[in-house]
């Protein structure tokens, strides 16, 4: 008992002392291992999961380190294989856990940029990359003019493999179909997959261009599939789909007369067709006397670097990515996996130039469109057109299919009631040129204010609009209509007499504030100075 009582007292003392100690201001100690003492930082790198890709990348990194010995002392590297097709999903699941350098297919670029999961190369690096790589791959690695990734390959497109013993004229689609039917061979063209369906539409000059705002939201679409040109494309597709030998596939080489596919099936093509293998660009088709050359999507693989807070590490990663995408490394990958280089020098290499598939791809690329940022649902909607062409009995059926397509596409962009009610500021302010809506929030009923304050300079011009469209807008009175009052003025747009632009009188940092009466359409706009 006595012993324990003493202990109790000691504890009380300890407690009191520690309380005093705790009251002292504590300095945050410098991190986990406090400095660079000996501990190497681990850099994670993801490359393709294709067998051998990790080994090659490891060897290339070893060469990089041999050339840059001071990095060798600071960092160790860990390479693993992850499919490029879903690298973005894995990275975005948690950016903190994501690798520092990773490879991905170009269609994921916008998503990664929007999620701030990519560090753009520095100014000098950007200039170098633009010089070294072909323009298709540079535009594939850029969003709104800024280069965000390092081009890795330039070979993700489709063209045609065919059986020389069957096909007499690989340039004419109708002849190809006739030859296959005569020989009982399959026509493999995955037309019920939008990536391939688009081939016919782009051939006749149709396009589907989607625009996103700076938040990554699709705001509008310029799509003319539902047009006379689209109808021609549907008819062109029927040349293939109405044939009993048509197979909706891009990989079934057994008993195939032609297969429309890409370089990833090159080995299978050689194995199955052997000496009879022919490789060339897509054929042309003729509808109503006009001939069109089939078009295609082109695509690239890219290498990305994760954003860093440490500039030294960021610089090292940028250098590493530049190294891994340079001429030599791209050629090594070509040798190992037949990946077509994006590097201009590498493209001139004798071996690359002799590769039949890459030659066919290069031929086809003259008719190719880089795959832009397309709404995720478009792929599911457009692929139906392939099946519809097969089913359609009359031209009206084809038109109906196109009408449905257009309606479904436009439905995707339908706005919610909240979005239709919301006001935004648009104009030549804040570095934008009438193409970006600056968001406003509703402070109280009918009172809207921009979420951020903007630096406005004298003579900046802007308007306010509701629901992201021009039907309801606020500006100053329009001289054209003879109104001379200086008050703000709103109207439902019905032709020429829309309000004029509001001009900033005094430069400064302002919030834009709008008071709006729904019933009377009375509007007041104020510039509220931000402190």
């Amino acid at each position: 008992m006595k012993m324990s009582k003493i202990l109790t007292l000691v504890l009380v003392l300890v407690m009191i002392v520690s309380c005093f100690a705790a009251c002292q201001p504590t300095k945050p100690d410098n991190g986990d291992n406090g400095g660079n003492g000996g501990n190497k930082e681990t850099i994670k790198v993801w490359v393709s999961e294709v067998p051998g890709a990790t080994e090659l990348a490891e060897a290339q990194i070893a060469e990089f380190l041999a050339a840059n010995p001071d990095y060798d002392a600071k960092y160790t590297f860990e390479v693993s294989g992850v499919s490029e097709a879903d690298a973005a999903s894995q990275v975005l699941a948690d950016v903190a856990l994501a690798p520092d350098v990773f490879c991905f297919a170009q269609d994921q670029l916008a998503r990664l940029v929007q999620a701030k999961a990519l560090a753009a190369p520095g100014l000098q690096a950007t200039a170098n990359l633009k010089e070294a790589n072909d323009s298709v791959s540079i535009s594939a690695a850029s969003v709104a003019g800024t280069l965000y990734a390092y081009p890795l390959t330039s070979d993700n497109g489709y063209y045609m493999y065919y059986d020389k013993s069957v096909i007499t004229n690989p340039d004419d689609l109708a002849q190809i179909v006739a030859d296959c039917e005569a020989a009982g061979k399959n026509i493999c063209f995955e037309l019920e997959n939008a990536w391939y369906t688009a081939s016919f539409f782009m051939a006749t000059g149709c396009h589907s261009n989607w625009t996103m705002d700076d938040k990554g939201k699709f705001t509008s679409v310029d799509d003319d599939f539902n047009s006379d040109k689209g109808l021609v494309a549907m008819k062109g597709m029927q040349i293939v789909t109405k044939s009993p030998n048509y197979i909706n596939s891009s990989s079934e080489f057994a008993n195939a007369g032609i297969v429309v596919t890409g370089i990833w099936n090159a080995n299978t093509a050689v194995e199955t067709l052997g000496d009879n293998l022919g490789v060339t660009d897509l054929p042309s088709f003729t509808v109503d006397g006009e001939t069109y050359h089939l078009a295609s999507f082109s695509g690239n693989k890219l290498m990305g670097v994760k954003p860093q807070s440490d500039p030294a590490k960021a610089a090292m990663l940028s250098k590493l990515a530049q190294y891994l995408t340079n001429t030599e490394c791209q050629l090594e990958r070509y040798k190992e996996f037949q990946w077509g280089p994006s590097n201009l020098v590498a493209q001139q290499d004798a071996n690359v130039k002799a590769n039949e598939s890459l030659v066919a791809l290069a031929l086809q690329n003259e008719h190719a469109t880089p795959q832009g940022n397309i709404h995720g649902s478009w792929w599911d909607i457009a692929k139906l057109l392939g099946g519809e062409s097969k089913n359609a009995a009359t031209e009206d059926d084809l038109r109906l299919a196109l009408d449905t397509y257009e309606k479904t596409i436009l439905d995707l962009l339908k706005k919610s009631d909240d979005e239709l009610r919301a006001w935004s500021v648009i104009g030549s302010i804040n570095g934008t040129g009438w193409n970006v809506d600056l968001e406003m929030e509703e402070l109280e009923n009918g009172v809207w204010q921009t979420i951020e304050a903007y630096d406005l300079t004298t003579d900046d011009q802007f308007k306010l609009r509701q629901g992201g469209g021009w039907n309801v807008q606020v500006g100053v009175a329009n001289e054209k209509t003879g109104e001379t009052t200086s008050g703000y003025y709103a109207r439902l747009m019905d032709g020429a007499d829309e309000p004029g632009n509001i001009t900033v009188a005094t430069a400064g940092k302002y919030y834009v504030k709008l008071t709006w009466e729904e019933g009377t359409h009375n509007a007041t706009v104020e510039l509220v100075p931000a402190n």
């Binding site: 999961e49 693993s80 992850v82 499919s83 097709a85 894995q90 990833w264 299978t268």
Partner: protein, 293 residues
Amino acid sequence: MKNNTSSIKKSGLGAKASRRISNTLIYIVLIVMTVVWLFPYFGIVLESLRMESTGRVDYMIPKEWGFGNYEYLFTNTNFPTWFINTTIMGLATAVLQTFFILSMSYTLSRLRFKGRKFLMNFMLILGMFPGFLTMILIYKIFGDLGLTHANAPFGLIIVYCASSGMGYYVSKGFFDTISKSLDEAARIDGATRWQVFYKVIMPLSKPIIIYTILMGFMAPWGDFMLARFLAAGDDLGKNVAVGMWGWLQATNPSTMYTRFCAAGVTVSIPVTAVFLALQKYYVEGVTGGAVKG
């Protein structure tokens, strides 16, 4: 149908004849079923031995036979890593999960304490949430601890085992059937509860222990949801299910199809062998578990 008279009354046929007809019908049904049930397995074995192409074809019997697909698995792919990953997970889960499940089910079956009913109801309700959703958080936490990507197998072992106590139903049903008087007799002889558990009950529980071990071993071979989440695409951290699924999803399934079949056969052989060897215990578990719930 022992009773002759009733059969005669019914059909006018002899009992033997009637039985023969019904037995013949049953044999026919059973033979048809055998064919249907084994057909996919024959198919997969045959396709794994097909050499002339690696894609899908519209016939079953290979034109060229050989073990090329198996060779390819072990020389050109990460399949061996996945196989080892899954085996390690299977063994570790078998041991740890058995520990968790047995301690939980034994306690709930044979010990009485405050909060027992509450605990059982709580676990029942908890089990109604889609357990998969826990992965959203676990992925991040394990990521910070370095238990994802290439190390996913270790993370998965923890995930499989930690909450396995919730699956106590089958073995609790078993413990419920062991007579309580055994415990009481031992307690009167001065044994502690630990001694009762260890010396009296455990020796009687061989069937259920083997059943639990078997289930623990099999689970990682078929798990897809959790394994895919933690491996996060890293080829070295996958289990066989996730890895092989990826082969069929890739842009070029035609290059991996027969190899998928070969891998399927390779995976099935050890698992099936273990299972068939311990089939007896499995049957006891299934029957017992169903009846006692």
